[in-house]
């Protein structure tokens, strides 16, 4: 690897010392990426141990401590292994080569005869007495990483590629490990009073009644209201008393917010992306509109944060996915010099994107500023985690194409309506922090921006079909009214775009009277994509697929995440009586070199189950205070008795660069399930979730 192709993380954090330090027989590796339950810290430990030629036990990962650890932006987009792992691999390889050079210079040895064993240089198998820890100055860690050292983790790995047990999981099965468990000396508990919607602002509150209920301080800054007490029970009692005595100003969202019909009538900024030939107007196009409603991240543990403001310095403990960006955003809204803010990551419940973590951190920081020296712990309620946290954007995607004379698709068009998938703290220089907006310290942005295409796109993620087409026209309608605050949710727009593309391919295959797998293989140019699709068809016994309309269905879908990352093909089997029962999933993935195979499998299985839950069950309900989703009874997700059997194969491709896997399966999983359900019914299902109601509506439309 040479200079220009260095991982982005190394371009912004070039010095070796930003990534590595040696201390008393240990190696400290710094990463800006954080553990979300995806096993990233273990994968980084494997990579570092291989490149440095040390035992894994010597490697300690320090992660997400802004400003001490490298700024690697958000832990998102299935990029941590590529970015942080790529950077750490090159840094450690360079340090190892430097140690070998020190030994060969000092002892007059041929470097080719030298090797490093558990941190010590050996020459022709004999120890030389030269190791990392005795040569820290000579290693000269304050120079840039040039990316030129050869990667041992690729050529002869010891740990990379092995199913190493995760370092973060062990304490959790014994009841430890979460930010929620952290207690600081003199800490006080706080709750923030919130209405049923993120946009609700407190109008009136009977403070006397709240104070009568429990001994609490009431902090009001504009529309931001917090209750603070020494005992957690007191803030909870006070919160329960405050709720009925509060009134709110809110423009309640429309009752049908998030449906396809609603999305297409919203105010949008529209752009068109053209690849290849422009489409010719056609009356004979097959046209289908796919949609998903608003989705909740649905973290099992409601967000939590601790902050302390002392002598002008703010310290924050958070389960944010972007500690440096949160630090910047807090500096913007709290009028504290960024040099005086430290933000430390602690483990939270799985987040799958931008959940309430950052907002809870801002809550704690705002309150802490008014209680100097006192650590403030904010715990969100279940209701707030559902209704005040950012949502995953509702989307409608209309696919249309004609059948060419060769039976293949022509005039391919995809039109997308979606809110933003990227409104995290500090994105586009905006704080995007709820408490600051409530307090009037920041205004919600007048316009709405989405994740740029160069960063994988938000609403446009995976909008390009991977097939050979004369041309593709993509129209992206970005909702510009700040309707429900939406932000990153696992896979961003990929779920609905792949659902639409792969549903369309099934319909075109049917129109051409060609088997859907054969139809895809005719126009799928990428060899790796063809291989995963063909193998998946074999695994699910596609050739024995029955007739459509029998109540039992088999569906298939494939995609390459972000059109440039891991390949996934996935088949689903369903049975439909009153409801869709998902019985089996078969998945084949090619993610290049897999650093931790068991960890990667765990991530892909998880992505499949989460996508199955979205596809079959999930819809965030808006409307008014009586209909908004506030608890799990209003927002059901997949339970143990509903999960399918999963057969998963990873293609062994150790010579190809490693690609992330956390988000790669959500599009194909959703599409394969919808295709299977459509096959079972003999009618196209395109509105998610596939509940009894949406299926009945689809059948009525078709009748």
């Amino acid at each position: 690897m040479t200079g220009p192709s260095l991982p982005r993380s190394l371009l912004t954090n070039p010095r070796l010392s930003q990534w590595i330090a040696f201390e008393a027989g240990r190696v400290l590796i710094s990463s800006g990426k954080v553990e979300l339950g995806q096993g990233i810290l273990t994968a980084l430990q494997q990579i570092a141990a291989d490149e440095l030629c040390v035992d894994m036990a010597r490697v300690e990962i320090v992660s997400g401590q802004a400003p001490l650890t490298p700024d690697e932006v958000y832990t998102a987009g299935s990029q941590s292994v590529e970015m942080s792992g790529g950077a750490i691999g090159l840094v450690c390889a360079q340090v190892r080569e430097t140690l070998v050079a020190i030994a060969s210079d000092r002892l007059g040895l041929d470097p080719a005869t030298c090797s490093v064993r558990d941190g010590r240089v050996h020459a022709d198998g004999a120890p030389t007495g030269i190791d990392y820890w005795g040569n820290i100055d000579a290693l000269d860690l304050d120079r840039p990483c040039d990316g030129s050292a050869p990667l041992l983790s690729r050529r002869k790995p010891r740990f990379v590629g092995m199913p190493v047990a995760r370092i973060d999981l062990s304490e959790k099965v014994f009841g430890g490990g979460f930010i929620h468990d952290l207690t600081l000396e003199g800490m006080r508990h706080a709750r923030v009073l919130r209405g049923g919607f993120r946009d609700a602002r407190l109008a009136t509150l009977d403070e006397a009644r709240v104070r009568r209920a429990a001994p609490v301080d009431i902090l009001r800054i504009g529309g931001f209201t917090a209750l603070v007490a020494k005992r957690q029970r007191d803030v909870e009692v006070a919160l329960a008393a405050a709720r009925p005595s509060a009134s709110w100003t809110v423009d309640a969202p429309d009752a049908d917010a998030g449906t396809a019909d609603w999305l297409v009538r919203q105010q949008c900024s529209t752009r068109t992306i053209q690849a290849g030939a422009e489409p010719a107007p056609s009356n004979s196009a097959i046209r289908l509109r796919f949609s998903r409603p608003y989705l909740s991240h649905g973290s099992i543990g409601p967000s939590c944060a601790i902050a302390r403001f002392d002598a002008g310095r703010l310290e924050v403990w958070t389960h944010s996915q972007g500690v440096e960006q949160l630090r910047q955003a807090l500096s913007m809204v709290l009028d504290i010099d960024i040099a005086n803010i430290a933000v430390s990551h602690r483990h939270g419940a799985g987040c799958y994107g931008h959940n309430g973590a950052d907002d809870a951190a801002c809550d704690a920081a705002m309150i802490a500023k008014h209680f100097p020296g006192v650590p403030i712990r904010v715990q969100w309620t279940r209701s707030d985690e559902l209704s005040a946290a950012p949502l995953g954007a509702a989307m409608a995607v209309e696919a249309s194409a004609t059948l060419g004379e060769d039976g293949m698709p022509a005039d391919w068009k995809l039109e997308i309506w979606s809110g933003s998938h990227g409104q995290r703290p500090a994105m586009a220089g905006r704080p995007n922090l709820l408490a600051a907006e409530e307090a009037g310290l920041a205004q919600p942005a007048a316009d709405v921006l989405d994740v740029p295409d160069a960063a994988g796109g938000g609403g446009t993620r995976n909008a390009f079909a991977p097939y050979v087409l004369r041309g593709q026209t993509i129209t992206h309608n970005l909702l510009t009214r700040p309707t429900p605050h939406t932000s990153a949710l696992r896979g961003l727009g990929a779920q609905v775009n792949v659902l639409a593309i792969e549903g369309m391919m099934d319909e075109l295959a049917a129109a051409a009277a060609i088997d859907p797998v054969a139809y895809r293989l005719r126009s799928l140019p990428d060899e790796r994509a063809r291989r995963v699709l063909a193998r998946c068809a074999e695994l699910c016994r596609w050739s024995a697929r029955g007739e459509a309309g029998t109540g039992v269905g088999l569906g298939i879908a494939c995609s390459r995440y972000k059109n440039h990352a891991a390949h996934v093909a996935l088949a689903a089997r369903v049975e439909i009586e009153d409801e869709v029962r998902l019985t089996d999933i078969w998945c084949v993935a090619d993610a290049g070199l897999v650093v931790n195979p068991d960890g990667a499998r765990n991530q892909i299985e998880g992505g499949i189950i989460q996508a199955a839950s979205w596809t079959l069950k999930e819809a965030f309900s808006l409307g008014d205070e009586t209909t908004v989703s506030r608890g799990w009874s209003d927002y059901p997700i997949l339970r143990f008795s509903e999960v399918p059997e999963i057969t998963l194969e990873m293609i062994d491709a150790p010579d190809l660069p490693p690609l992330g896997v956390g988000e790669v399966a959500v599009g194909p999983a959703s599409a394969a399930i919808a295709n299977a359900a459509s096959h079972a019914l003999g009618a196209r299902l395109s509105t998610l979730p596939l509940t009894r109601e949406t299926i009945a509506a689809a059948l009525l439309r078709g009748a």
Partner: protein
Amino acid sequence: MDETVRLRVNGEQVELACGKDERLIDLLRERLGLTGTRFGCGEEMCGACMVLVDDRPAYACTFAATDAAGKDVITIEGLGSEAAPHALQSAFLELQAGQCGYCLSGIIVSAAALLKRNPAPSRAQIAEALDPHLCRCGAHHRILKAVEAAAHQIAASPA
């Protein structure tokens, strides 16, 4: 008005003054420092807070602390430790059954109650016993397999 509550927690007798609105989860997490019992929803919908009360799974988030008087309460910390893990805790680590791990305390506690009353449950019986629990990371398969593995392990080891 607080009342004195005596109960056993993880085998140890404790005596605390509890308010009527205090819940078992507060008593465990804040008064006794047993933070392994997790707050998830406060309305018996996710199972994150599950503990054993007299060997039966109970939602600590709604269980009145005063109702625990005279009871035997077991939490995730009482099932086993790193030095002496419960067969379930070993199996969950062996099979890497979890991602973020937030749901695991409650799930392992429910599974322990299941294995006590049914030492050889079928996959469907395990799924049924765990249905009160939500896992958002999608680790369900591994969790089901880990409970099966623990059942086998318990059956194979001398009593």
